[in-house]
Each structure stands twice: as structure tokens, then as C-alpha cells.
């Protein structure tokens, strides 16, 4: 028999409090990342991509291989001449791939498009965790977090007694919380 003050509600409060503390970090990571990836139409949530355009004048192949042309292009761009690989996306074009730096050039016109990629501070990692890029052990941690959120939701409903609890205002608010997503499921079905 439970001691006075140690009924189920006490346990719910204790579990809600401690699991809540445990989840603060993950909730922040998932929610911040959630906002970031929600707006993926408008920005890249994981990388900052800087695109610059310029013209370095026509580049004649003169019988050179793609690698030699790539070095020539990089020299004209005053960029280090090391690169990882080259690719010809279309005849007359050349793509030079350096670490986090891609140069696309139209050899005939000399039009250059450069793309520099920088992982976004913190967000890149937050998104990788949120979207479970890591897989393996993180999958289990993410599952445990999901279970913890279910525990928080259920225990949270029964923290208070009376008219502000689940039998009063809590019921209306909880029902509203279910109704909102259901409405949109119906709306977009």
C-alpha cells in the first residue's frame, strides 16, 4: 500500500519531473532542428551555400586534358590549384571539385559559377540527430526519447487535480491539441 503522499499522482509527478529534466536537451535539439527543416523550401537548414558568379574569359582546350584546364581555371580565379576531381556535365563545360568548393565553368564564354559550402554551426549536427542520419545506436536513443515524450504527455495530463486538471480545463485543451492535427489531416487528405 502506498504511503501517504506516494500515490499514483506522486509517481506521475516524480516521473514527469525527472524525465522532463532528462529530455530538456533533446527537446531543444529536436525543436530547433524542427523549425529549421520546416522551412527547407526557403533555405538549406544544414549548409550555408555561397554562390558567386564571375567571368574569366574564354578558355581554349588546346589539346590539354581536363585536369590541366582545371588548373588553368583555378589559377585565373586566384584559387589554390589543388582539386579532388573534375567532371564534364555538358560538352564545353567543366566542373572542378575542391573540398567544399565547386567551380563550374562554361569554357567558351568563361562564365564561372562558384559554390562554397559551409556546414551551419550547431544546426548541421542538430539536423543530423533529428533526422537520424547517424542511424545505429542513435536510433535507439531517439526511440527512447520518443517513448519519454509519450510518458511526459501522459503523466503531464494528470499532474493537477480539480478544475484545472484533466477533468476540467485540461480536457478541453487536450482535446484541442488532438483536434488541430486531425483538422489538418482532414483538410489535406
Amino acid at each position: 500500500m502506498a504511503r501517504r503522499g506516494r500515490g499514483w499522482r506522486w509517481w506521475f509527478r516524480t516521473i514527469h519531473r525527472d524525465v522532463g529534466y532528462l529530455c530538456v536537451g533533446l527537446v531543444l535539439i529536436y525543436s530547433i532542428s524542427g523549425i529549421a527543416v520546416n522551412h527547407v523550401e526557403d533555405w538549406n537548414p544544414s549548409y550555408s551555400i555561397e554562390v558567386t558568379r564571375s567571368n574569366i574569359g574564354p578558355i581554349a582546350a588546346d589539346g590539354r586534358d581536363d585536369e590541366a584546364i582545371a588548373r588553368d581555371v583555378l589559377e585565373r580565379l586566384h584559387s589554390p590549384t589543388d582539386f579532388r576531381t573534375v567532371f564534364v556535365p555538358e560538352p564545353g563545360d567543366l566542373r572542378i571539385i575542391r573540398t567544399n568548393h565547386t567551380v563550374d565553368i562554361e569554357l567558351g564564354s568563361g562564365d564561372v559559377r562558384q559554390e562554397r559550402v559551409t556546414p551551419r554551426f550547431m544546426l548541421r549536427g542538430f539536423n543530423a540527430l533529428h533526422l537520424n542520419h547517424a542511424k545505429r545506436l542513435w536510433t535507439w536513443i531517439a526511440d527512447a526519447f520518443a517513448v519519454a515524450l509519450i510518458v511526459l504527455a501522459i503523466t503531464g495530463m494528470f499532474l493537477l487535480k480539480g478544475k484545472k486538471g484533466i477533468t476540467g480545463r485540461g480536457a478541453w485543451l487536450t482535446a484541442t491539441g488532438f483536434a488541430i492535427p486531425l483538422f489538418f489531416l482532414w483538410l489535406y487528405a
Partner: protein, 210 residues
């Protein structure tokens, strides 16, 4: 008091219904037949690169911007197991030389990444081992495998099933018109007269070192 509880119970009962409708609407969440992903995965011919467009053609890991998702035909690959099962690498050049011989077959390939999906990491383009102008398009199930942008220029090993992608004329015209509009160029639909056949690897496993 009964009203909110009744609403609550109704909401719980309705949840599975809502989920079912959603699943029907979105299929299995995969975008294997998305032509703007498949883009220039052509083996034998050189067509306009879609890599630049690719930097913006995926959203939230669901290919929501792929206007032609689900419209093109693709080689079905039912029951394909994930991960690596093969040890022998098939040169990309060999696949590109006669892709029809590999249609529906599981292959292991290696190549430098010369294009990566910037938003969702859901595709990568691997350069041929013999020709700087040829590449194999690797499309993975969104979220299952995520190619990071840092993988550009690095060697990627991928295993999957070679699929033939057929993009109908009407859809091709839409794609090319959209690309032309982006560039502010004119596009004449009458220049597209035949469906496009392209090839892509439906990636089931991939690894890389950065």
C-alpha cells in the same frame, strides 16, 4: 464535462483514419521515380545536367518539389534488401556501356561524387571510372541514406539495383520549360518529341570517407 472527454475519445479513434489517408496520399515516402532527380542519369547520351537544379529540387527529404514524382515509369524493385551484400565492384563504365544488361540487377559501384543533393542528401552522382563526362545517378530512399555535401569529390561506394526510368514527353516538356524559365530562356515544346530513357541506381547501401 462529458463533451471534452467524448471529443478526446473521438480524436483518438480518428487518428488511425487520418494516418491511413495520409499514407495513401504520399505513397511509401520514396521518390525512386522522380525524373527531376533522375535528370541526366542517361547512360549513353549526354543531356543537360540537372545538378544545379538539383541543389534546390528536394525538400524535407520528401522530394516535394519533384513535380513529376510518381508519373514516370521505373523498373520495379520489390523486396530489395538494404545494405551491402556484394563484394565485387562493377565498373560504372561497364554499366553505362550497356545499361540494359544490368536492368533490375543488383550491383556494387564506386566513383567520385560529382553531384550531391544539397537539401536532403537523397541522391549522388558518381563519375565513371573511364570518362570525365559520364556518370551514374544514385537515388536513395529519402532519409534512409543521406549523402552529405562534404562528400563532393570523395569516392562513394554504393550498392543497389539499376533502374530504367522512362519520362513521358509531356513531363519532359514541363521539366525543360521550368528549367528554361529559371534561366530566363525561351523553350520550344516541339523540340521534345520522344520520351527520355535514363538509368539510375536505386541505392540500397552506401558508404564514403570524408
Amino acid at each position: 464535462m462529458k463533451a471534452p472527454i467524448t471529443l478526446f475519445v473521438m480524436a483518438l479513434c480518428a487518428l488511425p483514419l487520418g494516418c491511413t489517408k495520409d499514407a495513401e496520399a504520399t505513397g511509401d515516402g520514396e521518390c525512386t521515380s522522380c525524373a527531376s532527380c533522375a535528370g541526366d542519369a542517361d547512360a549513353g547520351e549526354h543531356v543537360a545536367s540537372h545538378d544545379d537544379a538539383g541543389h534546390g529540387d528536394h525538400a524535407g527529404g520528401q522530394c516535394s518539389d519533384c513535380a513529376d514524382a510518381g508519373v514516370v515509369e521505373a523498373t520495379p524493385t520489390p523486396g530489395a534488401g538494404k545494405g551491402f551484400t556484394l563484394t565485387e565492384v562493377t565498373p560504372i563504365s561497364k554499366i553505362l556501356a550497356s545499361p540494359a544488361d544490368f536492368e533490375g540487377k543488383r550491383v556494387l559501384v564506386k566513383g567520385d561524387a560529382v553531384g550531391v543533393c544539397a537539401k536532403a542528401g537523397c541522391w549522388a552522382r558518381l563519375k565513371s571510372d573511364e570518362d570525365n563526362s559520364k556518370s551514374l545517378f544514385v537515388k536513395v530512399m529519402d532519409g534512409e541514406i543521406v549523402f552529405p555535401m562534404e562528400a563532393m569529390g570523395h569516392e562513394i561506394t554504393a550498392e543497389g539495383i539499376l533502374q530504367k526510368i522512362v519520362t513521358p514527353v509531356e513531363k519532359l516538356r514541363e521539366i525543360y520549360a521550368a528549367r528554361a524559365a529559371e534561366k530566363g530562356e525561351e523553350f520550344d515544346p516541339s523540340t521534345v518529341t520522344a520520351p527520355r530513357i535514363s538509368w539510375q541506381l536505386r541505392g540500397l547501401g552506401a558508404r564514403w570517407e570524408i
